[in-house]
């Protein structure tokens, strides 16, 4: 038993690094989380930068365009009022009063000859009237930039109105450069942040991975550490720990059963063999031989019953019987058990009293609950002295029905009470009574299957066994009457 795990561990230790190397970078969940974080941060920062650019540099452009439109409209009004001379005079006046030194005007005739304004000739690229142009202009030997718009006037005249935007262009370039550098910084920060996110993710998972590796290596006592924050990772860790606890209990149960089978069933098997061997060697008549065979058969029947009980407990613990859960009334069930054991109790001189409400509805497996109650009543009657009373009581509590079987026998000492539900366990007080030590183990399994519990307490004298079966939330029975007396007295 101890050698097999060692033989399995070596291949898994060699295989683990191979499996880890196969988790390629791009398949890593941590990389995906980091990439999502980086992408979201970059997109958010980019959107913010675009809005800032539109709000600032875009505003500058819109202001210039508005100014040019207003200027052109007023010039057109001057043309309508006074014709060409008025327009020429207005353009000259505006140029003379342009303290900001940013106005650009050019009025040309149908032959594209300049009539007024401060440009030497019509710029060739400016052909259309439905768009804005950015022109390179020369101002006192220095290159500058102008934003201009073309307008058509009557009689074939063309008007160009614009503004020197060199300063604004510099400001816009400054802003654009600043935003680009900011985006670069954001990209670096996003990458660093992504790496941090990946590191946090891996560190959190490393805890779970380390625990899983330790368990795979054979250290079943390992549990996933909780951070104490109560977050989703802690919830997963708690679920994993609960699962490991359950697996541990099941493995202990298997180990215990294996040991118990080896010890406790060896005796009856050996006894049956001895009887058959003795009969084969010494039986001289057919009746003697037949009797020996019948005794051996009885011993084997007992062994088969033990295995049947073990299998039943295993089936219950596997949880497959949950599919048979249905709505049931425990009152007639308890009545049937009491009726079943009434005769047995009478034979022993034990009084059987039942005190249950008129109905006690819950949801579960009728057969299993009946078996569990029968086991408790069987134990109570078996261990009660003549003249004692075994009480079967039931009531509805806040969480569901609770069934209590109390007797006046020797009870179970406190030191043995925690082990009483182990398979094949028999306390000192039970050595002289028949049984395989599986009854309470089955009751415990039924209780756990239904999400309830079996509590054993001192009856002073005797034992009080309480089996609670919580009702499911969606089918919790409200308003069920409490205990109402319907005691069954037995002479």
């Amino acid at each position: 038993m101890n050698d097999a795990p060692v033989a399995v561990e070596q291949p898994s230790e060699q295989a683990a690094p191979e499996r880890r190397r196969r988790v390629y970078f791009l398949n890593s969940a941590g990389v995906r989380f980091a990439a999502i974080y980086t992408g979201l941060l970059a997109i958010s920062a980019g959107a913010l930068a675009m809005f800032l650019w539109w709000a600032t540099a875009g505003l500058l452009d819109r202001q210039v365009e508005t100014a040019i439109r207003l200027d052109a409209r007023s010039l057109a009004e001057r043309w309508e009022e006074g014709g060409l001379p008025a327009l020429v005079l207005t353009i000259e006046d505006r140029l003379a009063g342009n303290v900001d030194d940013d106005a650009i005007y050019l009025l040309v005739n149908a032959q594209m000859q300049p009539v007024a304004g401060n440009l030497g000739q019509w710029p060739t690229p400016v052909q259309r009237t439905d768009g804005w142009y950015e022109l390179q202009v020369q101002r006192a030997g220095i290159r500058s930039l102008a934003r201009v718009h073309r307008y058509e006037l009557p009689n074939g005249y063309h008007l160009l109105v614009g503004r020197d935007v060199r300063t604004r262009a510099q400001l816009r370039q400054l802003l654009t450069d600043a935003l680009l550098w900011a985006m670069l910084v954001v990209a670096v920060m996003a990458t660093v942040g992504g790496l941090v996110v990946r590191s946090l993710f891996r560190r959190t998972l490393a805890n779970v991975s380390a625990t899983a590796s330790a368990i795979a290596a054979g250290d079943f006592a390992q549990r996933v550490k909780l951070s104490g924050r109560g977050d989703e990772f802690d919830q997963i860790a708690e679920m994993i720990n609960d699962m490991l606890d359950r697996i541990g209990r099941l493995m202990d149960g298997v180990r215990q059963v294996s040991n118990a089978i080896a010890h406790d069933l060896r005796t009856p098997i050996t006894r049956a063999r001895t009887r058959l061997e003795d009969a084969a060697l010494h039986a001289e008549t057919a009746p003697e031989l037949r009797a020996a065979i019948e005794r051996a058969t009885t011993d084997l029947d007992g062994i088969v019953a033990v295995f049947h009980a073990l299998l039943r407990i295993a089936e219950i613990e596997a949880g497959s019987r949950r599919s048979a859960f249905a709505r049931l009334d425990l009152t007639p069930l308890l009545g049937a058990v009491a009726e079943l054991y009434d005769a047995v109790a009478e034979d022993k001189g034990v009084r059987l009293a039942i005190d249950v409400p008129e109905n006690l509805v819950t949801c579960g497996d009728r057969e299993l609950i009946q078996q569990a109650v029968a086991n408790l009543v069987d134990n109570a009657v078996k261990f009660s002295p003549p003249g004692a009373t075994v009480r079967i009581q039931a009531m509805m509590t806040g969480t569901g029905p609770s069934i209590t079987i109390s007797d006046q026998g020797p009870g179970i000492p406190l030191t043995d009470r925690s082990r009483a539900t182990e398979r094949f366990f028999r306390g000192e007080t039970a050595r002289s009574t028949p049984g395989a030590g599986l009854g309470l183990a089955l009751v415990q399994a039924v209780a756990q299957l239904h999400g309830g519990e079996l509590r054993l307490s001192d009856g002073g004298p005797g034992l009080v066994a309480s089996l609670s079966i919580p009702a499911p939330d969606e089918r919790r029975i409200d308003g069920n009457p409490g205990v109402s007396s319907s005691a069954v007295q037995r002479p």
């Binding site: 006046d93 303290v99 000739q121 390179q136």
Partner: protein, 103 residues
């Protein structure tokens, strides 16, 4: 020999690429438009305008305009055309007495 031929082929491809880009960009860029209001002649024109309008101005604006005009012309003669023109334009506005400034 193979290296020389390979290098020559790469250089040829690069040259074709540059020429194509030049063609696509529409050839050589247009020369910048000349702004005629940044010249000595325009300085003198603005100075003449101030002299015409100054007698019509009253109060301190006349004196201020005259001073600005003198400064402006001085700057123009020193070659600081745009600075001089700005002062002359302020002088024109002062003596004109209305906001002749474009929108």
């Amino acid at each position: 020999m193979a290296f020389v031929s390979r290098s020559t082929a790469l250089a040829g491809l690069a040259g074709i690429g540059v020429a194509t880009l030049a063609l696509l960009s529409g050839g050589s860029p247009a020369p910048p438009a000349q702004v005629t209001s940044d010249t000595q002649a325009y300085c003198r024109q603005l100075g003449d305008r101030v002299r015409e309008l100054a007698p019509l101005a009253t109060g301190p604006s006349r004196l201020m305009a005259t001073n600005l005009a003198v400064e402006g012309q001085s700057l123009c003669m020193r070659g600081e055309i745009r600075g001089g023109i700005r002062r002359l334009r302020r002088a024109v506005r002062l003596v004109a007495g209305t906001a002749v400034r474009p929108h």
